[in-house]
């Protein structure tokens, strides 16, 4: 359960990246985009984000020995800047 807040922060971080890049893509296409194309962009952005998140997310939730798990949470938290103090910038969430 220790990893739960870390998972939420990592999700938030990735989603912010996704929304920002998706917005850029939409802006580049402007008015000429069809609903189908927009759906393809959305799916592409989600597909890449989700598959890149899969490995760290699984590691964060994996049971197994406590010491390894704590180390995983520590290192991923540090690497991705996911400690409570890092969570200063407000996150735009749907």
């Amino acid at each position: 359960l220790q990893a739960v807040p870390t998972i939420k922060r990592l999700r938030g971080k990735a989603e912010n990246i996704r929304l920002m890049e998706l917005e850029k893509a939409r802006a580049k296409l402007g008015e000429e985009i069809t609903p189908k194309q927009l759906k393809v962009l959305e799916d592409l952005s989600r597909g890449i984000m989700n598959k890149m998140l899969h490995a760290p997310m699984q590691a964060l939730r994996s049971e197994g020995d406590v010491q390894t798990h704590v180390q995983t949470i520590d290192v991923l938290g540090r690497v991705f800047g996911l400690s409570e103090e890092d969570e200063k910038t407000p996150q735009v969430r749907k």
Binding site: L1, V4, K8, G12, P35, G47, K51, R93, K94
Partner: protein, 131 residues
């Protein structure tokens, strides 16, 4: 009904735009109006898909507003509709948002349960609701 379908689609789009613009109250009004319009149209095309979009939107809006229980209620409706429809569009996304809400409510057991479902769906071909 194709006229009514178009009207509802536009409401859903507007609602989603409100979410992006941080106007969740207005979004809720639009999504609920869409739900009523769907129910009032007997020959509406794919009513369950449209309702799922509306409830997903309502869930997002209540997260923004800060009413976690109302958000959970709406997202449970999304899971329900997904079961009825029989696809898995937006399932991963819904599990993740539900888990996030439980995390904020400090119900870490429930959060972990839904994060596990979220993670189990991450690698599948995923797509979420677009409006």
């Amino acid at each position: 009904a194709s006229g009514q379908n178009y009207v509802v689609l536009e409401m859903l789009k507007k609602g989603k735009k409100c979410l992006r613009d941080n106007e969740p109250q207005r979004a809720v009004v639009l999504f609920e109006e869409a739900l009523r319009a769907i129910d009032a149209t007997p020959d509406f095309k794919d009513p369950l898909l449209a309702k799922r979009k509306a409830y997903r939107g309502i869930g997002g809006a209540y997260v923004q507003i800060g009413r976690p229980q109302a958000a959970l209620d709406a997202l449970m409706k999304v899971l329900d509709l997904t079961r009825q429809i029989g696809d898995n569009t937006g399932l991963c996304d819904a599990y993740g948002v539900i888990a996030d809400i439980y995390t904020d409510m400090n119900k870490l057991d429930k959060a972990a349960e839904y994060y596990d479902l979220y993670i189990a769906n991450l690698e599948q071909d995923q797509s979420a609701e677009t409006m």
